[in-house]
Amino acid sequence: MYAQSVLTALIAWPALAAGVVLGAPERWAKHLALAASFIEFAVSVPLWWVFQPAGGMQLQLDVPWIPNWGIHYAVGVDGISLFMILLTTFLVPLSILGSYNYITTRERAFYALMLVLTSGMIGVFVALDLFLFYVMWDVMLIPMYFIIGVWGGQNRLYAAIKFFIYTFFGSLLMLVAILTLVYLVAQRTGVYSFSYVNVMNNIGALGPVAFWLFGAFFLAFAIKVPMFPFHTWLPDAHVEAPTAGSVILAAVLLKMGTYGFLRFAVPFFPQVALHPAVQRAIVTLSLIGIVYGGLVAMVQPDFKKLIAYSSVAHLGFVVLGIWALTLQSVQGALMVMINHGISTGALFFLVGMLYERRHSRLIEAFGGLAKVVPLFAAVLTIVSLSSIGLPATNGFVGEFLVLLGAFRTYPVAAAVATTGVIVAAMYLLPALQRVIYNPLDQPENAHLADLSPRELAVLLPLVACIVWIGVYPTPFLRRMEPSAQRFIESVRPAAPAAAAR
Amino acid sequence: MLLGPALFVSAALFTLGVFGVLLRRNAIVIFMCVELMLNAVNLTFVALAQRLGVAGQLFVFFVMAVAAAEAAVGLAIILAIYRHRGTVNLQNINLLKG
């Protein structure tokens, strides 16, 4: 019963709850949304134990949707998507709780959109039908557009439209590629089917067209990641978005890009994705992302922008890990995906809390806060350290595994990427210093309130995860290992020999 | 047979129609040039009907019906425009500009 319906319930429940929130009185909206998202989380938690690491794709449900076109409602979960689902359901209640004071206008609409967004995100991660995937991809796009465009900062319309057009451009390319792919597969099998498994099994050799199809998928996902040079929507979107929007955007939405690489772009077209020239190009882009993102982050005056560029750097590690194609690097990439969600999410929460107090995101507007708000300073320090990958925090586990694995395939690239570790310290520590250390030279800062119990309730789960994953990541690694293994094996025939470890 | 010459005449008339449309500014004259083009096409239909069956002549019938309808509505529009602007010279009529 649970196994049959949990994924569908996870998709359907927030959408239903969104309807209820819309109909409820304005002042109940946030409480209802919090309750709904918490139930969602509670429903998803048993997945941790129900999930069988060696069981491959499981908890599947497959019912015809539009049978004439071979479109099914097909969902399932494996070691890659499991953690993305849990990350989503874990962070949504926190972001709703974190928005309690931030969102003061049109609360019903905001919380309803957050819940619809949740449906879309879960849908993207569980969809096993290309059409369903595409639909869910756009379902999550639209609420985010409104969240940025309605509740955002000064320049919100520009940011929202940029975000929308950029992502939509990629998603349309992906749609064209999906349709072409289904058509090509149907020519071979005689049956039109959008089923992921069917496409995967019958894709065969596509010849030169594979290059274009891969290109379309790659572009859609690379924009979402975002990889250099498709990243410029991210700083704008992050800066303008409300806290909850930034958190979800960074923690979950960006992962859809790398998830797409792992689930679709690389397994569908291993010959193209792992062609030496393509591989070199992508690895180079990821390196540029790591170093460039870090260096640009270093000189940002706006804390949110700094975090946005640091996301570019972190996601560069993920892409590098995926393309290095060793077990360590792929699992490391998955870990970075989780860790970045937790750490960067927490950073956005913290910056949002500063913004609520001072209505400024400029690093220069602060200084010496550790004296005034010691608890805040302690949490910010821990989270920053996790973000720069200090050992025994979660950040280290992911980056270490990625680099260790990548070094087997691309020693030089991994060595260059390791300098990203230095750069990470160069952008976050000065910012940390200028916010919580240094003299308390601005009188407005002298009477800031320290973290409230509600804010602590938002942050403490994240801090707990930071330490837990840093010290004992084995349960995560064990659950994702078989899936990572299968991912590598499914693409290995096309990979260079060196990657086969 | 007369097919070749008929087609030649048709082409000539059609070109003259186009030429007229391009050359003139008076809406009514342009309208007449359009009629001229329609007739040129009619000639083609009739000429080919000899070889391809009576359907060609039927099409001429339909074209005439359409031309009649077009003339009725078109002239009504011209009347309305004239009432509104006091001229039928297309140079002075740029209501289509957004």
Binding site: I165, V299, N438 | -
Partner: protein
């Protein structure tokens, strides 16, 4: 593996960690519960020291040659990478654990007095406990990554403690600099780990060192790269050229921190790493030569700078860098036992020197505080004649000075001589070591000189402190002098640990460490010096030290010194040394500023904002808008024009049919 004290090895790091958690909680919620903080902070260390001692005793009784490994939980099991959270206990770890917990406990005790009036008392002890925890992870870790946890962790604590008084920007800056410079080294360590894993398929010390000889061809490129990268990590952590610049700035932290972290323990982590990886370094003569060469050069270079510093802690900082250079010369030479020996004795006398300077600074600070003066409490030009007010401190610091200068029979004499002797011995096989040896001897001369200078200016001559202040100068309380006394005794007698056979000693430490370095020792050419040469070297060393001290006493005139605010600016070579050879300025000009400029002007403003976002992203938006504008220009509203376009369109269509 049956021994109970060893079974409880995990307590050694766990106790300071518990101390950190408790003190951290107190720091956030009950910052004024100082008694509880002191009890927890010092108690954790004392208990840890007791646990470590018990473990070492147990270990000694077992006569175990192979290291004992305790696996606690799986950390990162991924494919063929089996990485456990495991501790390892062997002779080397035993020495380090004792030094860390022992000296650590003394410094904690000292801090109770030194930091008593500070508002951040609880926070201070939380950090200090956390530091000891990480330091113990570093020396007890059974694999490179576990060691790396400690490695970066001590860097973090160093960062937090240097910037402890964070409301002064200079302190916060110094902490940040330490962390970032350390990270540069750490990246080398990381890459070295990746190389090792790629070659041996393991990261645990046991398998790596076991397979090293089989996997790495001796003197091959890979092993040289591994050792050089590891040494880059060491250079960062142990402040060697070219990454030493953070350590003098680190003196912005509280003085006990300088004693514990920046003299006795953390900065010696690099030496520990080289000693730990002795097999790898033995396989790479080039790597070892680099270690020894950089060590010798650093020893000399830092000693020159120490000659002209006025800040008492900065002199000690450069002295630390210089002594660390000695240690690297030792381990690079293959005399691992000698290097570790110097590490231990240095921990004693340098901790003593720093704590003593802490006493002095606090005494002056109190005095200035009482008279509301703003003079620099750390500038030696403001001191002088302090032996009359701080007799205990002066005496104990003189012991440490003689020890560091290498006057027999104090501890430093034996350890320094062991290193120089080993270098000279190796030089008979590899002549380049003559140069290293000579640099070491020159540095020894300078060491004796600048340390004597420090003592003379601080404790002797006329008192340059103002009249009112003198009434407030007094010796520190017993919590502070007590640890000094213990360290003084250790500095005096530390030599007994490893009394050379030449003098009829048992060379205890040397034999104790033999199981750890056995493999590497076998790979080295065995060079024996005749007793005559050894005696000659010994007496030469004593002579050099004596010359340094004597020269300082003769050349320097504490009577002629002016207080800091009256002192004329330095000129010539003195200025060059005083300005630390302008290395900080050089780094700033060739690395820091260009990088900032690159990031801000080129990457961000030009590439990101103008090229990618401006030209490509917004450019395409502008282009489509321009296209729309062009299209709208076609909409003249003139039917005639539309007809022309229409006809053109038809012609094009017909043209398609024609073709």
């Amino acid at each position: 593996m049956s021994a109970s004290a060893l079974q409880l090895l995990w307590l050694v790091p766990a106790l300071p960690l518990a101390g950190f958690v408790l003190n951290g909680a107190l720091a956030l919620w009950r910052p004024n519960a100082k008694a509880a903080v002191s009890t927890i902070g010092v108690g954790a260390l004392v208990l840890a020291f007791a646990a470590a001692t018990a473990a070492v005793a147990e270990f000694a009784r077992l006569h175990q040659a192979a290291p004992l490994v305790f696996r606690y939980w799986e950390w990162m099991p991924v494919g063929d990478l089996r990485l456990d959270f495991a501790l390892q206990f062997d002779q080397l770890s035993a020495v380090m654990a004792l030094v860390v917990t022992g000296v650590g406990a003394l410094i904690h005790l000292f801090s109770v007095g030194y930091m008593h009036e500070d508002a951040g008392y609880a926070r201070y002890f939380a950090y200090l406990n956390l530091f000891v925890f990480f330091m113990l992870m570093l020396v007890l870790g059974a694999s490179f990554p576990v060691m790396f946890v400690g490695w970066e962790g001590v860097g973090l604590c160093s960062y937090l403690l240097i910037g402890f008084w964070f409301t002064e920007q200079i302190n916060a800056d110094a902490g940040k600099k330490a962390f970032i410079v350390n990270r540069i080294g750490d990246s080398g360590f990381l890459i070295a780990m990746f190389l090792i894993f790629r070659a041996t398929g393991a990261l645990d010390f046991g398998p790596v060192f076991g397979r090293a000889q089989a996997v790495f061809p001796a003197a091959g490129t890979t092993i040289t790269a591994v050792t050089l990268l590891l040494f880059l990590g060491c250079a960062g952590k142990s402040a060697q050229i070219p990454l030493y610049t953070w350590l003098p700035d680190a003196m912005q932290g509280p003085t006990p921190v300088s004693a514990l972290i920046h003299a006795a323990t953390m900065v010696t982590a690099g030496v520990y790493l080289v000693a730990r990886c002795n097999v790898l370094f033995a396989l790479s003569p080039l790597g070892s030569a680099a270690v020894a060469g950089v060590g010798a050069l650093t020893a000399l270079f830092a000693a020159t700078i120490a000659l002209k510093q006025w800040d008492i802690k900065r002199v000690l900082a450069y002295s630390t860098i210089s002594q660390l250079g000695y240690m690297f010369l030792g381990v690079g030479t293959g005399a691992y036992a000698a290097g570790i020996f110097h590490l231990v004795t240095h921990a004693f006398f340098k901790a003593l020197l720093f704590l003593g300077s802490g006493s002095v600074i606090q005494a002056l600070h109190h005095a200035y505080h009482a008279t509301h003066s703003h003079d620099d409490a750390q500038d030696m030009r403001n001191m002088g004649g302090l032996r009359r007010y701080l007799p205990w401190t002066a005496t104990l610091m003189w012991i440490a000075t003689l020890a560091i200068a290498g006057i027999p029979p104090l501890s430093g004499f034996f350890s320094k001589d062991a290193i120089l002797g080993a270098a000279f011995a190796l030089a008979t096989a590899e002549p380049i070591w003559y140069v290293y040896w000579a640099m070491g001897v020159a540095a020894a001369l300078l060491t004796a000189f600048y340390m004597t200078r420090l003592m003379l200016y601080t404790f002797h001559g006329p008192t340059r402190t103002g009249e009112q202040e003198r009434q407030h100068l007094h010796e520190a309380p017993w919590v502070m002098t007590g640890p000094l006394l213990v360290l003084g005794l250790l500095s005096l007698s530390g030599g007994l640990l490893n009394l050379p056979e030449l003098m009829g000693g048992g060379a205890f430490l040397h034999h104790w460490l033999e199981p750890v370095t056995a493999l590497a020792d076998r790979m080295r050419p065995a060079v024996e010096l005749s007793r005559v040469v050894e005696w000659a070297l010994l007496s030469g060393a004593v002579g050099v030290a004596a010359l340094g001290i004597f020269g300082a006493v003769r050349l320097l005139k504490p009577e002629a010194l002016l207080p800091a605010r009256l002192a004329p600016p330095e000129t010539g070579l003195g200025r060059l040394l005083w300005k630390k050879w302008y290395v900080d300025e050089l780094y700033d000009a060739i690395i820091v500023r260009p990088l900032q400029w690159l990031a801000r002007e080129v990457l961000w403003k030009s590439i990101d904002a103008r090229l990618v976002d401006g030209l490509i992203v917004n450019g395409s938006a502008t282009a489509s808008r321009a296209l729309g504008w062009l299209g709208s220009r076609l909409q003249t509203g003139e039917v005639g024009f539309y007809v022309v376009l229409f006809v053109v369109g038809v012609l094009l269509l017909v043209g398609g049919a024609v073709r």
